[in-house]
Structures are given as structure tokens and as C-alpha cells.
């Protein structure tokens, strides 16, 4: 990298890059020392598998595919995944299928498993797409998602600073290919900027290239060699992840179509001398530079080479965006992490993500979650993971200055540690929170909800400021502390309901009000002698009155506790119209501490009144 620090903006940009780079270095050194797996999220069907559609074109090729994608989109359908072959995957409403089959180059549309013989036997990509489709509509993908499984450790510190490029190197890489470098990207790069890039917004058409790295033994021993079966597993997982993102885009009113390409490990360009799994991830430039050189991108560092590759990808595939996934092989006998404990990471805003065949505790059938999470970073999505002692997000603040959106679902204690919104960027969950959506450029109109809790309780989500897409159905729950009762919501809306569900249509403030269940009034106690002619017992007699401040509450009983050495023992529970209790047979000389609390019809217990009887 060369720096030309002639101008103040240039120096500022360079400083920013240095800070980002240094942060990335520090993070690389600290990630995943011994992160433990977390409990598996609730298993649920994938959702996007409903209505999944296979489209077979009359002919393949980028132009035919892109034309079909446009036709399908204009007919109300969505293509989630396509490639260079004549097979497309997505969702087409059945009532639109008939129209599409007329004169649009579409040979057939399928909603049920098809005979793989429909595509030429030698078309590796088409065959993969068809087999993937069959597994989805055959329920295999949902069954895998529903099956008991172990989730891997959190992906903390996996979002690395944006890779800075050397404009001259990128240009040099692209010139022989006669590929124009995006003018705006070139201009900002020339001026030391890092934006825009090739993965600014996860929307529209996105080219994705999978590089299956293979060692050839020229430098390191060739320890592990990809099998076709394992390669296909990864491609299936990538198609699951891209289908998930495409489906998620629809729920936010967006369209995202992934053009997925891959270089198989058997192809010469993927052959290089290093066995990556035996190296630290921070040395990924060794194999990335090598395969990039094999692909014809040999100038500059890994960022410049992959950026140029993405430019070529975008141009040659006719997409709006492009990014690269570098996938290294580590079969069962190999470690599940690089030697520095990293296993999956991505550079914020691109240009590439790196992952393994087996990702440190994440099952291969959950690789799509790892891939989807890293893809979120590629498009500037922030991490919402936090693990004490390891890192992750550290506040609700934006994680980058490219698209500085709040990160209110960050699980850092200072932000939202408990009441998480399920999100791919937080727990690799099968959901996307509005914060991540805003970060990846889905310019949804967000409304602010300021959630507050009065004395005596909290809320779920926890009190704070939240963003919701306009019209979103929001459910908030008030959780009273012990001895308190939820009273009502006040603020922009007023409601006695709990949980309270409403559609957010404007900026709102909601305050959860709680009411103390007051202790019984005038609690008194005395020790009395109860005797016959020759026998005697002592009785602690407690008396109290109904607390007038509990008017309107249905007090159905009173609980009497005996407190001894800090331990509270329930002595009796009395009806709500009883205002005295005799604790018989007590020691004449001992001192007794009592607590009496009202109990409501919902079994909620109020604050206790106390009395000591000596």
C-alpha cells in the first residue's frame, strides 16, 4: 500500500484505515480463544422453503439468465439463486407461472421434486441446483433445521475492518481484462476513501463467487483434499444462505438475487501451495494471493486483488454487486479452526469472507448460518454478538461510518444483553432485526420506540430506544418486580393490556406503569398466655387491617411468614377476610419476626409488613 498524505482529507482517511486495520489485527489476535458453544436456538422450519420454485430455462448463459430474472421479477416472482446454467431457484406464485411459460425463454416451472435428468448430465452447476431444489421441496432442508443440533460458539470479532485497496494495483489487475473499474469506486479509492465498494447494499443482483481452496503440495504438505461430496455440501449450504437472504429481503419489501458461481477445488486456478487449515487466518493472503494470481489478478495485496476480482465478477455477470467467499477445507481429521482459532470472518463492506468446511462446532448442516452471518458483514451489517472477555459489539452505537445505523440489538451489557430480537447477526438466528436491515442498506422507514419502565418493573425488550420498520407489529411486555403489579401503559398510547401489541406508525414513547401491592396496615403482634388449670401454651397473636391503598385490587389472602436468620418460612396462608393469626405453642422467652403480605387473585404477593414479638 502506498500513502500520499498531501491533503488533510487524505490524512484523515489514512488514519481511519490505520485504526481499522489495527483493530482488525487486535481482533484477529483475540478471537475465539476458547469460546464455548451456546444453547441451540429454538428449532423452527426455515420458512423460505414454502413455495420454493425451480425454473428451467430453454438455454443457459449470463444474458439468458439475467433476462429471465427480470421477467420473473416483473411477473411478481423472485429469483433467489441463479448461476450461469439454465436453472434458477426462487419463488413464483403458481398463478403467475402460466404467463411466464409463454415466450420468455422459460422451459418449465416446478414446485415439486423433479427428475435430475431434466438437466444435462455434464452440467455440474445445473445438477447441483436441481438436487438442492429437490432436497428443499422434499423437506430435507427443513428437517435438518428442525433436528436437534449443537450450535457452535458465537462469531465474535468476525467482522473485520474494511479492506483498503491500492487503486493502482486494482487498475493494473483490471486493465488486461478490459474491465472498467466502477467510476465512483475508482474516484473515492484514488482519494484515499474506501467507499463505495462492491457490496454496499444487499439488494438487487449480487454476484457471489465461491473459491474452494485446494493445496497442491508445492509448499506445504498436501494433507487434505476436497471431495466432491463435501464441496456439494458447502454449495448447498451457500444456496440455503442466499435463499434465506433473498427471502428476508422480501419481508422488508426488497429484492435480492444471488448469482452464485464457484471454482471447484479440482480446477487449476484453485491449486496453490499452502494447506490453509494449518496456518493462522491472518495469513490468508498466502492462499488468497495465490489463487487470485492463478485467476489473473496478481497485482497488489489480497484486498486489491479480490476487489479487482469482484469488479470482474460484477462486470462479467452483469450484477449490481459482487463479493467472494473463500472456503478452505478441513475434513473430520483436521482442526475445525485455523491455527489462531479463527474459523469464519468477513471484512465489513467486503471484499471477501473466509470460512471453513467445518466451522468450529457449527455442524455442516448449519454452515448456511455461518455463511449468512458473514454475508451480513460483507454488506456492512454489524455484529450483535458479545462475549465477555472476547469482544464483539460493545455498545448500541454504529459499528462503521459507512452506514452509521444504531446497533440496538447488540448483546453487550450496555446495550441489550437480555431481551434480544432474534437476528442472524446476533445468534445466527433464522430472523433479521430491523437494526441489521438498516445496516445492510434496506432503507426501511424506521420509527423510534422509546420504551420506559416506571418504578417497580421492567419491560421486554428492556427499556431503551428501538427502531422498527413503519407498520411493524410490536409487542412489548411489562414485567413487574416482586410485590408490584403492572398497572398500564401510558405515553403515545394508553393501554391496560400486557403484553401490549400495536402497529408502530410514528415515533412513540411508552411507559410501563407499575403499582405497589401495599403491605397490610397496622400490623401488630403480642404474645399471650393460653392456659387451662394445669397446662399452658404461649401464642403469638398477629393482627392487621386491610390497606386502603390496595383499593381496587382483589386481595384474596394473606401470607404469614416467620423470618429466622434471614430465612423466610411460610407459616400459613389465610383468606382475604381474615385479619388475625395465632401462632401457637411458641417459646415464652424467644423473639419472633413475622412478615405478613397480601396475595392477589393472580397469586401475586405484595410487599410485606413486619413485626417482632418478644
Amino acid at each position: 500500500m502506498r500513502f500520499h498524505l498531501r491533503h488533510r482529507p487524505l490524512r484523515t482517511a489514512a488514519l481511519l484505515v490505520l485504526v481499522i486495520g489495527l483493530s482488525a489485527f487486535v481482533l484477529l489476535a483475540t478471537q475465539s480463544r476458547a469460546l464455548q458453544p451456546r444453547p441451540a436456538a429454538a428449532q423452527q422450519p426455515l420458512g423460505w422453503t414454502q413455495g420454493y420454485t425451480l425454473v428451467i430455462l430453454e438455454e443457459g448463459g449470463v444474458h439468458a439468465v439475467n433476462a429471465a430474472v427480470r421477467e420473473i421479477r416483473s411477473a411478481g416472482g423472485t429469483v433467489a439463486v441463479c448461476g450461469a446454467s439454465n436453472v434458477l431457484l426462487g419463488w413464483i406464485p403458481p398463478d403467475r407461472a402460466g404467463a411466464l411459460l409463454v415466450d420468455h425463454g422459460i422451459a418449465s416451472i416446478h414446485y415439486a421434486p423433479v427428475d435430475p435428468g431434466l438437466v444435462p448430465a455434464g452440467d455440474d452447476e445445473a445438477g447441483l441446483f436441481v438436487r438442492f431444489f429437490n432436497s428443499v421441496v422434499g423437506g430435507e432442508a427443513d428437517r435438518a433445521a428442525m433436528s436437534p443440533r449443537t450450535e457452535g460458539p458465537p462469531l465474535v470479532n468476525d467482522a473485520l475492518g474494511h479492506g483498503f485497496v491500492d487503486p493502482a494495483a486494482v487498475t493494473k489487475n483490471l486493465e488486461p481484462l478490459h474491465i472498467p473499474w466502477d467510476a465512483e469506486a475508482r474516484r473515492t479509492a484514488d482519494n484515499g476513501g474506501i467507499f463505495p465498494g462492491y457490496s454496499d447494499t444487499l439488494e438487487g443482483s449480487i454476484a457471489l463467487c465461491l473459491l474452494f481452496i485446494e493445496s497442491n503440495g508445492t509448499i506445504d504438505a498436501n494433507t487434505y483434499t476436497w471431495t466432491t461430496e463435501d464441496r456439494d455440501q458447502v454449495i448447498n449450504q451457500v444456496m440455503t444462505g442466499t435463499s434465506w437472504w433473498s427471502n428476508m429481503a422480501q419481508t422488508y419489501g426488497k429484492t435480492a438475487t444471488f448469482s452464485v458461481y464457484y471454482y471447484s477445488p479440482t480446477q487449476a486456478q484453485m491449486q496453490q501451495g499452502y494447506e490453509p487449515i494449518n496456518w493462522p487466518s491472518s495469513s490468508d493472503g498466502l492462499w488468497i494471493n495465490a489463487v487470485m494470481a492463478n485467476l489473473g489478478f496478481s497485482s497488489g495485496d489480497k484486498f486489491s486483488r479480490v476487489t479487482a476480482f469482484n469488479a470482474w465478477l460484477k462486470s462479467s455477470r452483469g450484477t449490481q454487486w459482487a463479493y467472494t467467499a473463500v472456503i478452505c477445507y478441513n475434513p473430520g481429521a483436521a482442526p475445525s479452526r485455523f491455527s489462531n482459532n479463527y474459523f469464519a470472518y468477513a471484512y465489513l463492506g467486503g471484499p471477501y469472507l473466509q470460512m471453513l468446511y467445518r466451522n468450529n462446532g457449527w455442524s455442516v448442516s448449519d454452515t448456511w448460518r455461518v455463511f449468512a452471518h458473514e454475508t451480513g458483514h460483507i454488506f456492512w451489517g454489524c455484529d450483535e454478538y458479545y462475549q465477555e472477555g472476547y469482544g464483539g459489539c460493545t455498545s448500541c452505537n454504529p459499528c462503521n461510518s459507512f452506514r452509521p445505523k444504531p446497533n440496538n440489538n447488540c448483546e453487550h451489557p450496555s446495550c441489550n444483553p437480555i431481551n434480544a430480537v432474534p437476528c442472524m447477526m446476533r445468534g445466527n438466528s433464522n430472523a433479521l432485526c430491523p437494526y441489521s436491515a438498516a445496516q445492510i442498506g434496506w432503507d426501511v422507514v424506521n420509527q423510534t420506540l422509546i420504551l420506559q419502565a416506571g418504578t417497580g418493573g421492567t419491560t421486554a425488550p428492556v427499556p431503551g430506544t428501538y427502531l422498527y420498520q413503519t407498520g411493524t407489529s410490536v409487542t412489548v411486555t411489562a414485567s413487574p418486580l416482586a410485590t408490584y403489579l403492572f398497572n398500564n401503559w401510558t405515553g403515545t398510547l394508553t393501554s391496560p393490556s400486557n403484553p401490549f401489541t400495536f402497529n408502530i406508525t410514528r415515533d412513540m414513547t411508552l411507559l410501563a406503569n407499575f403499582r405497589l401491592i401495599e403491605p397490610p396496615a397496622n400490623l401488630a403482634g403480642t404474645k399471650v398466655l393460653n392456659r387451662s388449670l394445669s397446662q399452658a401454651e404461649y401464642i403469638n397473636v398477629l393482627t392487621w387491617e386491610s390497606n386502603p391503598n390496595n383499593a381496587g385490587l382483589n386481595v384474596v389472602g394473606y401470607r404469614v411468614y416467620l423470618v429466622s436468620n434471614g430465612t423466610r418460612t411460610l407459616v400459613t396462608e389465610l383468606s382475604g377476610d381474615t385479619f388475625t393469626y395465632q401462632h401457637r405453642g411458641v417459646d415464652r422467652t424467644a423473639s419472633y419476626d413475622y412478615e405478613v403480605a397480601a396475595v392477589l387473585d393472580n397469586l401475586k404477593e405484595g410487599r410485606a409488613a413486619t413485626v417482632t414479638i418478644n
Partner: protein, 179 residues
Amino acid sequence: MKHRILIALMIGSLALPAAAASFGVKAVYLMPSEQTFKDIYGSGLMYGAELGFRVGGPVKLWIDGMYYQGKGKLTYTQEDTTLTLMPIGAGVRVELPQGALVPYAGAGLRYYIYKEENVIGTAKKNGLGFVGFAGLNLRLAKGFLLDLRAAYSSCKLTPADFTINVGGFELGGGLVFEF
């Protein structure tokens, strides 16, 4: 020592000639001397029977057995409590006949069987006390006498938590058959 005297008197009475014997049934109104007794059980009737044996001149030995049951309430909770007393006594008395009237006075020992039951528990205790009495027999017909008497008894027991006096003043009477 009291036990031995009582037993000797009882055995001695049984050994005397039957010609100078008497048998009577009686009922007395017990007015306890212990205030707590009065508070809980009040005053009440005590029933019993008595055997007398003349041992010479105006002196008679006597043995009797009485039964008392009182029902009351505990002092605070006002729950039911039951007291059962069975005093068994023996002693001597001196009679001074004046025609149809036979005034007498005597004393003796009483062995009290005590039982009190209530929710607090059951207390049982036996103990020895004394009794002193004076009375008047009125001869109604040959061999039948009306007995009027007053007595004072005392017996201190500690069945459970308190030491109590189960005796008191007794006013009552009965019918006596001489044979």
C-alpha cells in the same frame, strides 16, 4: 408417710366388726380454693360414696371415693377443656349423738387422681392431700340418716406447667344406711 397412714386406716377399718358400720352416698358442691380453678371450671358437684366403721365409742373410721368432672374454656382461645378429679379418702371422725341428731367432725387423707384434657395436651397426676369436715346426721328412720356436711380439702399438684390446689370448700349431704 401419708400414704402409709392412709393405707393403715383403710385396712384397719375393714378389719372391724360389721355391726357398727355405715354406708352412704353423698354429693357435695365443691368451691375450689384456687382462683384459676374457679375461673376455668367454676364450682361444681362432686359425687361419691362412703363407708364408716365404728371402732369404739364415738370414733369411726371412714373411707370414701368421690368423682368430679368439670368442663371449662381455655383462658385465651376459649377452647373446651375437661377436668376429672377422683379423690379417694380415709380418716377418722368423732360422733356425738344428741337424740336424733348426730353431730360429727373428722379429718383424713385424700389421694387425688387428676386428669385434664384439652388442645394443649393431656395432663395426668396423682397426689395426696387432706380433708377436714364437720356435719350433722339426722336420723330419719331406723338405720337411715340424712347427712349434712361441710368440708375443707387441699391437695397441691403439679400435673404440667403449674402447681395447683385442687381442693376447696365442700358443702353437701347424702343418705346414710347403718347396719
